[in-house]
C-alpha cells in the first residue's frame, strides 16, 4: 500500500516542505532529509498526529508510533478474543458442580 516516494524534488516542490504541514512530515518516514518531496499522492493513509516523533526511524527504546501500537493492540486483542470466544469448556462447569456436590455431601 505504501508507495515509494521519489527522492527527486525540484525547487518548486519545497513549498510545502518546512512550512510544517503534519501530513508532509509524517509522509517523509525516512526522516531528516532537508529536501522535501511534497507531492500530494505521497501522503500516508493515516496522517500521523505527531509531527516530530514520527519522522525518525523507530528508536530502540523510544515510544512507538500510534499506528504500530494500534496494530499490535488489535492483534493481541484478536489473539486473546479467539480463545474467549470458545466460552466455558464443559470440564470447568463439571468441576464447579463436583465441588458443590462434595460440599453438599460433606455438610449433610
Amino acid at each position: 500500500m505504501k508507495e515509494q516516494k521519489p527522492l527527486t524534488s525540484g525547487p518548486g516542490d519545497q513549498v510545502q516542505g518546512r512550512a510544517g504541514s503534519t501530513e508532509d512530515n509524517g509522509a517523509r518516514g525516512g526522516g531528516g532529509r532537508p529536501q522535501g518531496s511534497g507531492s500530494v499522492e505521497q501522503m500516508p493513509v493515516r496522517p500521523s498526529p505527531t509531527m516530530h516523533n514520527e519522522i525518525h526511524p523507530r528508536k530502540r527504546r523510544g515510544r512507538l508510533g500510534r499506528d504500530v501500537q494500534s496494530k499490535l493492540g488489535k492483534t493481541l486483542q484478536a489473539y486473546f478474543d479467539d480463545v474467549v470466544k470458545e466460552g466455558v469448556p464443559e470440564r470447568f462447569r463439571l468441576l464447579l458442580q463436583q465441588f458443590d456436590d462434595r460440599q453438599d455431601k460433606g455438610s449433610s
Partner: protein, 183 residues
C-alpha cells in the same frame, strides 16, 4: 458449603478470559487448561478469602498468575533457559492454538520475558487497568507501565511492524485483522 450462586456465576463467567490469559502466558492449550483447573480448585477451596463485591476476575487472574509463576520458576530450574530455549519449546508444537493465523504472533509473544508478557496481556487484552494489573502482579503501577512499553517495543521488533508498513511476510495475520478480530 456449596458456592453461592452469584459467586459460582462470577467464576464461570471469568473462565473464558482466564483461559485466554493462561494460553497467552503458557502458549499451550493443555497446560493452560490445567492452570485454569488448578486456579478454580484453589479459588473454591479459599473462597472465604474472597471479598464479596470485589473483582472476581482480578482475584482469579491473580491466583492463576501466581500458579504460572511458580511453575515457570520450577521448570526454569529444570531446563536451562538462558537463551530462551524454553520459550522455543513453548512454540514448537503447531497444535498449541487452533488458529494458524496467530502462529507468528504467538511465537513473538513467547519470546517476551514473562513479566512483560503478563503485563501486556493484562492491560492490552484482558481489559484491566494499570492499577488492577499492578495489583494482580503485586508490583507498582509504574512498573506495569514500563513493562507494557517494553513489551510493545520488543513485539514490534519481533514482528517487524515498522511505521506505516504492514506486518512482514505474514499476510495471514493481516487477513485476520482485516476480517475483524474484535467482537
Amino acid at each position: 458449603m456449596p458456592l453461592e450462586p452469584s459467586v459460582r456465576e462470577a467464576m464461570l463467567s471469568a473462565v473464558p478470559s482466564l483461559r485466554a490469559f493462561a494460553i497467552s502466558l503458557s502458549g499451550n492449550v493443555d497446560r493452560a487448561d490445567d492452570l485454569v483447573q488448578e486456579t478454580l480448585l484453589r479459588a473454591m477451596a479459599n473462597i472465604d478469602s474472597f471479598q464479596p463485591g470485589t473483582n472476581m476476575s482480578a482475584w482469579l487472574f491473580t491466583i492463576l498468575r501466581n500458579l504460572f509463576r511458580s511453575e515457570y520458576r520450577k521448570r526454569r530450574r529444570e531446563v536451562e533457559d538462558a537463551d530462551g530455549s524454553y520459550a522455543d519449546t513453548l512454540t514448537s508444537h503447531p497444535e498449541q492454538h487452533g488458529r494458524i493465523e496467530f502462529e507468528e504472533f504467538r511465537k513473538a509473544l513467547a519470546q517476551l520475558p514473562p513479566d512483560q508478557r503478563e503485563a501486556l496481556i493484562l492491560v492490552g487484552a484482558s481489559g484491566f487497568s494499570y492499577e488492577e494489573a499492578a495489583g494482580i502482579c503485586d508490583c507498582a503501577v509504574g512498573t506495569i507501565k514500563s513493562r507494557v512499553n517494553r513489551a510493545r517495543t520488543r513485539l514490534s521488533e519481533l514482528l517487524a511492524i515498522d511505521g506505516a508498513d504492514d506486518f512482514g511476510p505474514d499476510q495471514s495475520t493481516r487477513a485476520v485483522l482485516s476480517a475483524g478480530g474484535r467482537r
